[in-house]
Structures are given as C-alpha cells and as structure tokens.
C-alpha cells in the first residue's frame, strides 16, 4: 500500500543533507511552501543552494531560511521584489551568492533535468550579459545559447489538495513552479492544504501525478 502522507513538518523534511540543492516553488506568496521552508530551519541542513523565482519577502518562510545564513547560493530570476529585505541585507554584505537566470530558463532547465535530457539551445539572453560564457550556436539562421539541466536534490512544494499516492492539485496561479519542480528533484515534498481520499481528485485534473511526489504533509491555510 502506497501512503506518502507524513504526520509532521519535521517528518516531511527529515534527511535533507548539508550541501543540498533545494528547489523552492512559489511566485511571490502564491504556491509558496512557507511552512516547509521554516521546517528546514529546524531540520538544520546547511550550505544550501536554493532555486526559486524570488528571494523571499518579509521575515518568514524562505526569507527566514535565508536569514539563518545557511544558504550559500540562490539561483533565481527576480530577487528584487519589494520586501526582499533579508536577501538584500545578505547580498549587500556579500554573504550570499546570486546566480541570476531568466524566469523561463530556470523553469525550462528544471524541466530538462526532469525529462532526462542533456541540455537545450535557447534564444533567450543572446546578446546580453547573461549569455557571457555560454556556448553559442547558430541554428537555421538564429543564434542560441546552450542551457544545461538544473536538477534538485529536494523540491519544496505547496499544493491545494493531495492524496496518499501523492497526486496534487493546485488553485489558480498558485500552480506556477510547483509541477515542474516536483518533476525535477530526487526528493519532492509537498505541503498541502487538504489531504483528500484517493480518487477525490478527478484523474483528468491531477496536475502533478503522484509518481513525482515522495512525501506530503497537511498544512491548513
């Protein structure tokens, strides 16, 4: 019998090793696994690399994890959101490395890893500073840069509903990076607002099939 549900946030994040690359879903506050981020603080892993769209806001969730000083590097597209005070302090103090990647390319690089591919040619960033050092190639008259897969050791996800097989559904734009990150990590962990019985999520409307999810924990909104 398959049952990926765990009872506590501590169980959900158990075993994350030092040095892990953690994919952290969410766009602003929507679909953000804030409870899981805070559970990682308790869990204690350090020397972390975080992959996320933003760099946390306020002093909770991802920002709280950054504030511990245990994140050495963040790969994101837009750390400049209003309220990213913790990141800005760390950045100004030179206490965190930033790898800036265009938003669609972060997502596509994670999908590339998830799909077992070795890389892809992208037209994005050609002619800009972000293409410096990347391999260039002209294909059918257009210039592309080679982008490499981006795989996570862990993905932290936030979904609306989840069942014991790990099937997930989301609400509205809270879907965002969650489905791709779920596919792109060795250990995918979801906080869900509601545990539901197997079969309650219509098979046509499962957005993340359980095959991509390893653990889920209920965190009511």
């Amino acid at each position: 019998m398959i049952d990926k549900r765990v009872r506590s946030l501590a169980d959900a994040v158990a075993g994350i090793p030092d040095g892990a690359t953690i994919l952290c879903a969410g766009f602003g506050g929507a679909g953000l696994p804030d409870a899981l981020c805070e559970a990682v603080i308790e869990q204690g892993a350090r020397d972390l690399t975080i992959v996320a769209n933003n760099a946390g806001t306020g002093r909770t969730g991802l920002a709280a994890l950054l504030a511990t000083g245990r994140v050495k590097r963040i790969i994101c597209s837009f750390p400049r959101s209003s309220g990213s005070v913790v990141f800005e302090e760390l950045y100004a103090a030179g206490r965190i490395e930033l790898e800036l990647v265009p938003q669609g390319i972060i997502s596509e690089r994670m999908r590339c890893a998830a799909a077992g591919l070795g890389g892809f040619y992208s037209p994005v960033s050609v002619g800009t500073r972000l293409a410096e050092g990347k391999e260039h190639r002209e294909i059918d008259g257009r210039m592309y840069v080679l982008e490499k897969p981006l795989k996570g050791d862990v993905a932290l996800l936030a979904a609306d509903r989840g069942d014991r097989w790990g099937n997930l559904s989301y609400r509205k734009s809270a879907r965002n990076f969650n489905p791709t990150m779920a596919m792109a990590a060795s250990l995918s962990i979801a906080q869900v607002r509601h545990f539901v019985e197997l079969g309650e999520i219509d098979p046509e409307t499962v957005i993340t099939p359980g095959i991509f999810v390893d653990r889920l924990v209920e965190v009511p909104a």
């Binding site: 766009f27 929507a30 959101s81 800009t128 734009s173």
Partner: protein
C-alpha cells in the same frame, strides 16, 4: 499635459486588436488590464501562468492564489485558464503571444531594450521574465515615462544599462508621445498637445523624426 501613468496604459490599450494575446509586464504595463477597450476581447497573459487576466478584484474578491506578474491580485475572465510556469514560458518563447507590453529603463533608437539592471552595486539585479518575453513575443512595445525623475532621457542613441535584448522594440508609449522604431529611425506618431516637437527632442537623446501625419496624443481623464 503629460499623460498620467494610467493614461499611458490606456493609450497602449487602444492599439490592441480584437482577439489578440498580449502579455503585460510588471510596472506600467500592468495597468493596461484595467483600461481595455470594452468593444474587444483581448486575452491577457501573465508570465506566472494566467491566460485571460481580468481587471483588479474588488476588496472583497481578493484571492492571493490569483496574482499577476507584479504579484498583485487579479481576476480571471470567463474562458481564461491556468498553466504551470514551464508551459507559460513555452507560450512566451515559442511565439504564441501576439504582443508583449513591457516596461523599460531605457530604449535605444534601434529598439534595444534595457529593463533588468541599473548595475547599482547596492541593489540586486532582477531579470524575471523580461529576456524571455523580449525574444519570444511576436512584437514588443514599451510603456515608459519619457524621462527619469531627474530628467534624464530614457530614449537614447544607445542604451547605457545592460541590454535585455537587442533590436526588439517596435513602438514606445510615453507620457509625451507615441514613437515607432523603424529602419529609418524613431518616428513620432503622436505628441501631447502642449509640447512642441523641439521640446520633445530636447527630452530625447536619440534623434526623432516627425511622422507626416503627426497627431495629438490625448487620453480621457480616467
């Protein structure tokens, strides 16, 4: 009178055709969602996976699971749908959007776009979806205030800030004018009433050409 921000958005919205798929970038372009022409169906795309963005919600309708690229609450039109980020950027990069309306720090006379970093060492850069949009949408138009608060021109011979993409911008909507980027240079199509062409040129680093049918740029009070 220079246009207000909402009026710049209104002017850009007047050029959207019925049935167009249009991405709105953060900042000024986001305002377009609230001033669309009522006689057309325009499908607004938000990079975070919303197709069919509606106007801002009333105070009682705010749902923080439904936000736009600027993380502000929005609504969904009937017929709209949600996709995940990878599919949303497939739409962007794959040429499925007719148009992207973007903000800018600077635009050059050749349509180069700079909107992701000012290189301020105290201020982290943020590229977001700007580079994906700049190379992916079928057409790029920019909404921007004509000068910085300090009065420096944003429409320049060459961008001083690092590029987002080269040679992609086709039209620029500012608080003073509507300007097309053409192979013959920048052509002013519309100009606000109380500024003459020479004054506009003085606020613009790149050389401007007046369109033969230069028209007044006017917008309702909103």
């Amino acid at each position: 009178m220079p246009l207000k921000r909402r009026q710049i958005a209104w002017r850009a919205a007047q050029d959207l055709v019925d049935g167009a798929y249009v991405n709105l970038g953060i900042g000024l372009p986001t305002l377009v969602a609230d001033v669309l022409p009522a006689d057309r169906e325009i499908v607004l795309h938000s990079e975070n996976g919303v197709l069919g963005v509606g106007p801002a919600p009333g105070d009682n309708e705010v749902d923080w699971d439904l936000v736009n690229a600027g993380k502000q609450p929005v609504t969904l039109l009937t017929g709209g749908s949600y996709v995940h980020h990878t599919d949303s950027f497939l739409m962007i990069r794959g040429g499925h959007l007719d148009l992207a309306l973007l903000g800018a720090f600077e635009v050059s006379q050749k349509g180069d776009l700079a909107n992701w970093t000012t290189d301020d060492p105290n201020f982290p850069p943020g590229v977001g979806g700007a580079m994906d949009l700049a190379v992916g949408a079928k057409e790029i138009r920019v909404l921007v205030e004509h000068t910085t608060r300090a009065g420096a021109p944003r429409i320049r011979r060459q961008c001083g800030y690092p590029l987002t993409a080269a040679g992609v911008v086709r039209r620029i909507y500012t608080d003073l004018a509507v300007i097309d980027v053409t192979s013959a240079g920048l052509v002013v199509r519309e100009l606000v009433d109380d500024i003459d062409f020479r004054t506009l040129q003085a606020k613009t680093e790149a050389p401007l050409h007046a369109a033969p049918d230069l028209r007044p740029l006017r917008a309702p009070a909103l």
